[in-house]
Amino acid sequence: MTPSAEPLLVVRDLRVAFGRARNEVLHGLSFTVGARERVGVIGESGSGKSVTALAVMGLLAENATVAGSVRLHGRELVGLGDRELSALRGDQLSMVFQEPMTALDPTMTVGRQVAEVLRLHQDTPHGTARERVVAMLGEVGLADPERVADAYPHALSGGQRQRCVLAMALINRPDLVICDEPTTALDVTVQARVLRLLDAELDAAEAACLFISHDLAVVSQVCSRILVMLDGEIVEDGSVGDVFTRPRHSYTQGLVATARLDQVPPGTRLPTVEDFYARDAGGRRGAP
């Protein structure tokens, strides 16, 4: 990996529109992610956070029009062909999706699916691949990884499947891992464990992370910087500490207030986001 003056991922004025009508969903996003940096993306549904992730990966639907610049290691990704992008996916950047129950091919054993990722990008003989797959499955915290490798997805629980997906995303030690609500669909008890696992694995792989969530608390556990998205734009960009103590945008203020309900004095009214940032009937935005 040649060191470059540019940060790992540089997104400049990213615009995404869908359909023939060109409904613009992302209105010129700009942000960076440095090597080994953990950046969280917070927003409600419809804010465009998943679209951003898919745009970086080049996995948007066919009717999407992408404009602007997304550079990974200084290399422009927007406009790159499927072949070239595929060489990068799973190797230099990878993604973990929200719903583990449907994320794996039901007709293939888990081990084979993980091995595929390995052998797609690295010339690995069959036997060595198997060893590395089992090792990886053990690393992501699956008990009895040999058995899991030979199992079909329907035999595994949600938490187990998500760990498999993590194994697939990390096995080639990518530089950037994009996580789209990776723990939202899991039980609360499992969530905490998977988050800790993610933290450890990102460290081990020396990977940067773009962590998308609607939960400010979760994001603040894993990330060092936070981006707040609203209606297809980034309205806040700062370190976790800054965002929590000195949020600049009123929407962020609302989010922070509602994330800390335990700090509200008893007897007083609980805050809502609308207290800080409201949309009037015409959809106009601004502080109330």
């Binding site: 990966m57 996995l59 066919e62 009717n63 499927d82 072949r83 595929s86 060489a87 990068l88 996916r89 799973g90 190797d91 990878s94 993604m95 999706f97 719903e99 129950m101 449907t102 994320a103 794996l104 091919d105 039901p106 007709t107 293939m108 595929e116 990722v117 797609l120 990008h121 079909y152 329907h154 035999a155 595994l156 629980s157 949600g158 187990q160 997906v165 697939m168 995303a169």
Partner: protein
């Protein structure tokens, strides 16, 4: 529900269907108004001839008895004896079985070879012109009866271009050795006629199966780990789409047999189809009964095999846990 009981259940269902089908056939042929013997010999036959026929074949017995006799014969592989010619149904079917089998088998293979790529293209490019073309082509194929396709092909290749014969058949292995070329060139047009129509039907199902694959989460995962769209579709999509494709093949088998019957007539191929149609013309009821049962039985057997093959293709069914289950 374990694997064994799943298999048993399907076998039982097959047996019941076979019995039901045989009853339907028997009733349709024998229980309709009109005296069976009279029908066979025609209105001009003398009463003595009719009476003789009835006695010879025990047509005075009640229908149930005759049905039981027929079914009983099946157990020993006897499909009945033609009242008209005195020959057993089996002996008349055997020499013609090969032709029909070649026709249908090749047609299925050709249809699959055409339909799978065509369906994939129709699915992948469904928002663009290539997909529209693929879909339009299959629409045309659906609107055309197999025998019309056959006739058109004959006009082009036999009448105008004179590349291939218009009808007739030469067996693969004759008394004087192999006739691969003559055998093959007489099968090309019939197989093509059947396959064109079948491919169009299959393409629609293949297309929708792949469209579904394209929207699955695990397809997106496959792409995110580095498969290009086409390779992901091929590697992960085909196996998952196979279930729908196999289903449709099973359902289409009956239609294909019918298509084969007609195509045999168009090209004067000495197969089961022409045997059946001649038998109808001659009012040879026993022969009709036997051949129809054979055909229907074949369809039921194939569908049973298709059903059993699901257990092989879809690992979720194997453990008897159904879909979407999880252990821990």
């Amino acid at each position: 529900m374990s694997l064994t009981s799943a298999v048993l259940r399907r076998l039982l269902l097959f047996a019941a269907s076979l019995v039901g089908a045989s009853a339907l056939i028997f009733v349709a042929v024998n229980a309709l108004p009109g005296d069976v013997a009279q029908v066979m010999l025609g209105t001009g036959a003398s009463p003595e001839a009719v009476a003789a026929l009835r006695e010879r074949y025990g047509l005075d017995r009640p229908a149930i008895v005759r049905y039981a006799a027929w079914i009983g014969g099946l157990a020993t592989g006897d499909l009945g004896t033609s009242y008209l010619t005195g020959e057993s149904v089996v002996s008349q079917v055997a020499p013609r079985l090969g032709v029909t089998l070649w026709l249908v088998s090749f047609a299925i293979v050709v249809a699959l070879v055409v339909a799978i790529p065509q369906g994939m293209v129709a699915a992948m490019f469904r928002r663009r012109w290539q997909g529209a073309v693929a879909s339009a082509a299959s629409q045309l194929g659906l609107a055309v009866p197999a025998f019309y396709a056959g006739i058109l092909l004959v006009v082009v290749f036999a009448v105008k271009l004179r590349w291939l014969p218009a009808n007739g058949y030469r067996p693969l292995i004759g008394d004087d050795g192999w006739h691969v070329r003559e055998w093959a060139e007489r099968l090309v047009l019939p197989v093509a006629s059947l396959a064109v129509v079948q491919a169009s039907v299959l393409t629609r199902y293949v297309r929708s199966a792949f469209v579904e694959v394209l929207s699955e989460d695990w397809f997106r995962t496959a792409r995110s780990v580095g498969w290009t769209r086409w390779r992901a579709l091929w590697r992960h999509g085909v196996r998952n789409a196979a279930i729908s494709v196999v289903t449709v093949l099973g359902l289409q088998l009956a239609t294909m047999l019918v298509g084969a019957i007609v195509v045999e007539q168009v090209f004067s191929l000495p197969g089961l189809g022409t045997l059946l149609l001649t038998a109808v013309g001659n009012r040879d009821l026993q022969l009709v009964q036997g051949v129809v049962l054979l055909l229907v039985g074949a369809v039921l057997v194939i569908n049973l095999l298709v059903d059993l093959s699901y257990l092989a293709i879809d690992p979720r069914l194997r453990d008897g846990g159904g879909r979407g289950g999880g252990s821990r």
